[in-house]
C-alpha cells in the first residue's frame, strides 16, 4: 500500500447541524453555501446532463418541420390562439388532449420508476432547479473563484473589486435568466418572427410579461434562493420517503467502514485505537450544493447529486483506500454490512470486523448488484409505464383525421311543414384534421324518403352533399333533414350521418336521431 497522503480537514459544518443538536426557534436564517467544485464521474455526468437538458430547452423551438403551406413549420409549437399543438409529425386538437394527459401520467409513473430504482435522480440531475442552480454556481465560480475565494469575498468589506465581481456575477445571472424566460415564449409562436417582434417592441404584451416573470423566477430561484427552493418549497422531498424502499439506490455514507472517523488516523492507529476510513476531512460537506453532511444519513435536504461521492473518492484515492466510502447503496446492502461491522457486545463499529489482515474488505461485505434494478416493484412500474405508452402510440397511429359531430336541435325538437313533412334541425360539425383542404361528402342513410338541406350551400335538397372544408379547420353547418308525412314513424327514429373523403377513403359515421310527434 502506498504511503497515505495527509488530508487536511476543511472548516465547514452542515447547515442543518444546529437544528440536530439543540432545540431552537423554528426559524433559522439562511447560511450561504459556497460549494467547492467536485471532480469526478458524477460531476462529469452532471455537466453532460446540463448540456443536454439546456440544449433541448433552448434549441427545440428553432427546429423546423415542413407541414406544407397550410400549417406552421415549427417542429414543436403550442398554438394557443388556434388551439393546436404541433410536435414534429403529430398534430393535436384540443379534444385529443388526452394524449398530453397520457404523457403526464407516463411522466409521473416514470418518476416513480426512476425514484424507486435510483432514488432522487430527478432532483440530483435533471430538475430545472438543480440544473440552473448548478449553472449559476459555475458562473459564480467563473467570476469569483472557487469556494475559498468566494467565502473571502463574502466576508471582505465593500471595495471596488468586490462590487465589480458581484456586479459581473449578477449581470451574468440576469442575462441567463432573460435567455431562460425568453426561450419559453418561442414554444408558443413562430420563433424567428417572435424574436424579431420581441426585439423591435412589437410582440404581444403577454410575451413581455411572460419573459419578465420567468426572468424573475429564474434569477430568484436559481441565483438567490437555490437550495431553499428544494428544502422549503418543493413537495417532492416529502413524497420521496414513500417512494424509496430498502432496494432503492441512495447516496449513502458507509459508516460501517468509515467509523470511527479520525482526523489524525496515523497517530490514532499508532496508539492502537480503531480507525475507520473516514478522515473527517469534510470534503463531502464542502462540495454539497445543499450544504449538508451526508454522514448524518438520508435526509430530506439531500438531492442525491452524488458530488460527495466524487469528493470522497478523490480523498480515498489519496489515502490509498478503495473508493466507495460514500456510494450509491441500498438500505438492504447497508444494513447487512452494518451488521457485519458492529460488534454485538459493545454495539460499536469495529473496523477490524470489515477488513482482513491485509486491509482488504472481508468477503461478507455486500457490494452493489445490478440485479436489484429488476425487482417486482420496478417491473410493475415499467409495465404500467410501457403499457400506457404502447396504448397511446397505437391509438395515435390509428386515430381519425376526419370526424363528424352532430347536435340535434333542442328547441324546437321538430317542425311540421306545410305539406305535413316533419323536419329536424342539426348542427353538424365537420372536422378536417389534416393541413390540406378537402372535399368531404356528407350523406344521409337509414331514414326512408328523407332529404337534407344545408344553409348556405347552394344545392337543392338531396341525400348527399359535397362540402369543402379548409385545411386543419372545423366547418359548422346548419343541416335540416325532412321526411315526407307518409314515411314518418312516430317518436324517435335512428339514422346515420356519414362523412367520407373519397380520395383518402376515410369515413366517419354519426348515429343521429330523428324526432317526430308521438301518436
Amino acid at each position: 500500500m502506498d504511503q497515505p497522503a495527509e488530508i487536511s480537514a476543511i472548516n465547514v459544518q452542515a447547515i442543518n447541524a444546529g437544528a440536530r443538536q439543540k432545540s431552537e426557534p423554528l426559524y433559522a436564517a439562511r447560511q450561504s453555501i459556497h460549494p467547492k467544485r467536485a471532480e469526478g464521474t458524477f460531476r462529469r455526468l452532471k455537466w453532460i446532463v446540463m448540456l443536454v437538458t439546456l440544449g433541448i430547452y433552448y434549441v427545440t423551438p428553432w427546429i423546423r418541420w415542413d407541414r406544407g403551406e397550410h400549417a406552421p413549420d415549427q417542429a414543436v409549437l403550442i398554438d394557443v390562439a388556434n388551439r393546436r399543438f404541433y410536435f414534429f409529425f403529430i398534430e393535436i386538437w384540443p379534444q385529443e388532449f388526452i394524449y398530453v394527459a397520457g404523457l403526464l401520467v407516463m411522466a409521473g409513473i416514470g418518476l416513480f420508476l426512476i425514484t424507486s430504482v435510483v432514488g432522487r435522480a430527478w432532483c440530483g440531475y435533471t430538475c430545472p432547479q438543480t440544473v440552473w442552480t448548478d449553472l449559476f454556481i459555475a458562473v459564480e465560480e467563473f467570476w469569483q473563484g472557487d469556494r475559498n475565494a468566494r467565502i473571502r469575498l463574502e466576508k471582505a468589506p465593500w471595495s471596488f473589486d468586490k462590487i465589480r465581481k458581484l456586479t459581473l456575477t449578477h449581470i451574468s445571472f440576469l442575462l441567463i435568466s432573460v435567455a431562460t424566460g425568453g426561450a419559453w415564449i418561442f414554444y408558443f409562436a413562430d420563433a424567428p418572427t417572435l424574436l424579431q417582434d420581441f426585439l423591435t417592441g412589437e410582440a404581444a404584451f403577454i410575451a413581455y410579461s411572460t419573459v419578465a416573470i420567468l426572468t424573475a423566477t429564474t434569477y430568484v430561484f436559481g441565483g438567490l434562493m437555490r437550495e431553499q427552493v428544494c428544502i422549503y418549497m418543493c413537495p417532492w422531498p416529502r413524497i420521496q420517503a414513500a417512494m424509496l424502499d430498502e432496494d432503492s439506490l441512495v447516496v449513502t455514507y458507509n459508516d460501517w467502514r468509515g467509523e470511527p472517523r479520525s482526523r489524525h488516523a496515523k497517530k490514532a492507529a499508532a496508539e492502537g485505537k480503531p480507525v475507520g476510513d473516514c478522515v473527517d476531512c469534510n470534503a463531502c460537506v464542502a462540495v454539497c450544493p445543499m450544504g449538508i453532511d451526508i454522514r448524518d444519513g438520508q435526509q430530506l435536504e439531500c438531492i442525491t447529486c452524488a458530488l460527495c461521492i466524487d469528493a470522497c473518492d478523490n480523498v480515498m484515492d489519496k489515502t490509498g483506500r478503495e473508493r466507495g466510502l460514500i456510494s450509491y447503496a441500498t438500505l438492504r446492502e447497508y444494513n447487512h454490512n452494518m451488521a457485519v461491522a458492529v460488534n454485538p457486545q459493545t454495539a460499536q463499529i469495529e473496523p477490524s470486523r470489515v477488513r482482513d489482515a491485509t486491509g482488504r474488505l472481508v468477503d461478507a461485505i455486500r457490494h452493489f448488484d445490478w440485479k436489484i434494478v429488476f425487482r417486482l416493484r420496478s417491473l410493475i412500474y415499467f409495465t404500467a409505464w410501457a403499457a400506457i405508452g404502447l396504448v397511446m402510440l397505437l391509438s395515435l397511429l390509428g386515430r381519425d383525421r376526419l370526424e363528424v359531430n352532430v347536435q340535434h336541435d333542442r328547441n324546437p325538437v321538430f317542425v311540421q311543414l306545410s305539406d305535413g313533412s316533419i323536419r329536424n334541425g342539426y348542427t353538424v360539425k365537420l372536422l378536417n384534421m389534416i393541413p390540406e383542404p378537402r372535399v368531404i361528402f356528407l350523406s344521409l342513410e337509414g331514414l326512408p324518403g328523407a332529404t337534407m338541406s344545408i344553409n348556405g350551400i347552394g344545392q337543392p335538397d338531396g341525400v348527399s352533399f359535397a362540402i369543402e372544408v379548409a385545411p386543419d379547420k372545423l366547418r359548422s353547418l346548419r343541416v335540416f333533414v325532412s321526411q315526407p308525412p307518409e314515411q314518418v314513424e312516430p317518436g324517435r327514429t335512428h339514422f346515420r350521418l356519414i362523412v367520407e373523403d373519397k380520395q383518402s377513403f376515410e369515413t366517419d359515421t354519426y348515429n343521429a336521431i330523428f324526432e317526430a310527434p308521438d301518436l
Binding site: N411, P412, L417, S418, R423
Partner: protein, 292 residues
C-alpha cells in the same frame, strides 16, 4: 410606574413575556416581524389613498365618486363601444347591402345570423318562443308556411313595418270580416264552409256539408285565400290547404275563426332597432329553415 418596568424573561426561549398567564402557561411577547408590520402600515396608507381615488364612502343617497372619476358603468360603455367599433365594417356593409345580398354573402350571412340570433332573444322570444317555434296564435318561424311571404325580403318588410301596426303607415294590413259576428253568414253556412276548408286541407270532412260550403267559399273566401285555399301572400291571406293552422284546424276552431276572426298584431321594429339590426333579424329568421 417605574416599579412595573421589570420585564419577565422566559427562561427556555429567552423571550420577554407579556405577563399573562393561564394555568401556568405564559404568553411570550414576540414582536411582529418588522417587514410584516411595515407592510401592514403600507396597506393602511394605500387604503386611504384608494378611498380618495376611487368611489368608496357611502353618503345618504349616493357615494363619493373618487378623484379619478372611475366608474364601472363607464368601463362597460367603453367596452361596448369598442366591441361596436370592431364590428363597424360589417355593420356598415350590412347597412348598405340589400337583405338578399347579405344572405348570399357567406361572411355577412354568418355575422348577420349571429347578430340576428341575439336580437331575436331580446325582442322576439316573448311571442315567438326562444326556439322561434311560436305557439297557438303566434306563428312558428321554423316552418315553411308564411302568411306574408317567406323570402328574405318579405321577412325584412314584415319586420321593418310590422303587421296591423298603427304607428307605421307602411305596415302590412288586412282585415277578415267577422262572418258570424257581423251576421254576413248564418251559423249553418259557417259550419258548411268550415267543412269545406277541412276538405281543402285533406282532413276528414262531412261530404254534404262540404259540398254546400264550396259555393259559399268561392263567393266569400277565395278572393283572399285563393281558389283552392292556397293563400295569397300579397294580401296576407293564409294558406288553408296545408297542415299548419295558426288558430287550430279542427272544425270548431275553423268555424270560430270564420265567425269572429282573431288577427295578430306585430310591431314594426325598423324605427326602434334600426335598419342594420332588422336586416340581421331577417337573415336569422330566414335561415331558421323555412325561408323561401
Amino acid at each position: 410606574m417605574a416599579d412595573n418596568d421589570k420585564k419577565e424573561i422566559d427562561e427556555l426561549s429567552g423571550v420577554e413575556t407579556t405577563g399573562h398567564e393561564w394555568d401556568g402557561i405564559r404568553e411570550l411577547n414576540n414582536p411582529l416581524p418588522r417587514w410584516w408590520l411595515w407592510t401592514f402600515y403600507a396597506t393602511i396608507v394605500w387604503s386611504i389613498g384608494y378611498t380618495i381615488a376611487y368611489p368608496a364612502w357611502p353618503l345618504i343617497d349616493n357615494a363619493t365618486a373618487g378623484v379619478l372619476g372611475w366608474s364601472s358603468r363607464a368601463d362597460l360603455a367603453d367596452e361596448v363601444s369598442q366591441a361596436a367599433m370592431l364590428n363597424q365594417d360589417k355593420i356598415s356593409a350590412i347597412q348598405s347591402a340589400a337583405v338578399s345580398e347579405i344572405a348570399a354573402d357567406e361572411n355577412l350571412r354568418q355575422f348577420a345570423t349571429a347578430g340576428g340570433a341575439s336580437a331575436f332573444k331580446v325582442y322576439c322570444v316573448q311571442c315567438h318562443g326562444s326556439g322561434a317555434a311560436g305557439s297557438a296564435g303566434y306563428p312558428n318561424l321554423n316552418d315553411d308556411d308564411w302568411i306574408w311571404g317567406g323570402t328574405v325580403d318579405d321577412i325584412y318588410s314584415t319586420l321593418m313595418h310590422g303587421i296591423r301596426y298603427d304607428a307605421d303607415a307602411d305596415t302590412r294590413f288586412n282585415d277578415m270580416p267577422a262572418y258570424g259576428g257581423d251576421e254576413i253568414l248564418t251559423r249553418a253556412e259557417i259550419s258548411d264552409v268550415a267543412w269545406y276548408v277541412r276538405k281543402l286541407s285533406d282532413q276528414d270532412f262531412d261530404e254534404t256539408a262540404a259540398a254546400n260550403g264550396e259555393a259559399i267559399y268561392a263567393d266569400n273566401c277565395a278572393a283572399c285565400h285563393g281558389d283552392t285555399g292556397e293563400g295569397v301572400a300579397e294580401l296576407g291571406g293564409p294558406n288553408l290547404s296545408d297542415a299548419i293552422w295558426l288558430y287550430g284546424g279542427t272544425h270548431a276552431q275553423i268555424a270560430a275563426q270564420i265567425s269572429n276572426p282573431r288577427m295578430g298584431m306585430m310591431p314594426g321594429w325598423g324605427e326602434r332597432l334600426g335598419e342594420a339590426a332588422v336586416k340581421q333579424l331577417a337573415v336569422y329568421v330566414h335561415g331558421l329553415g323555412g325561408g323561401e
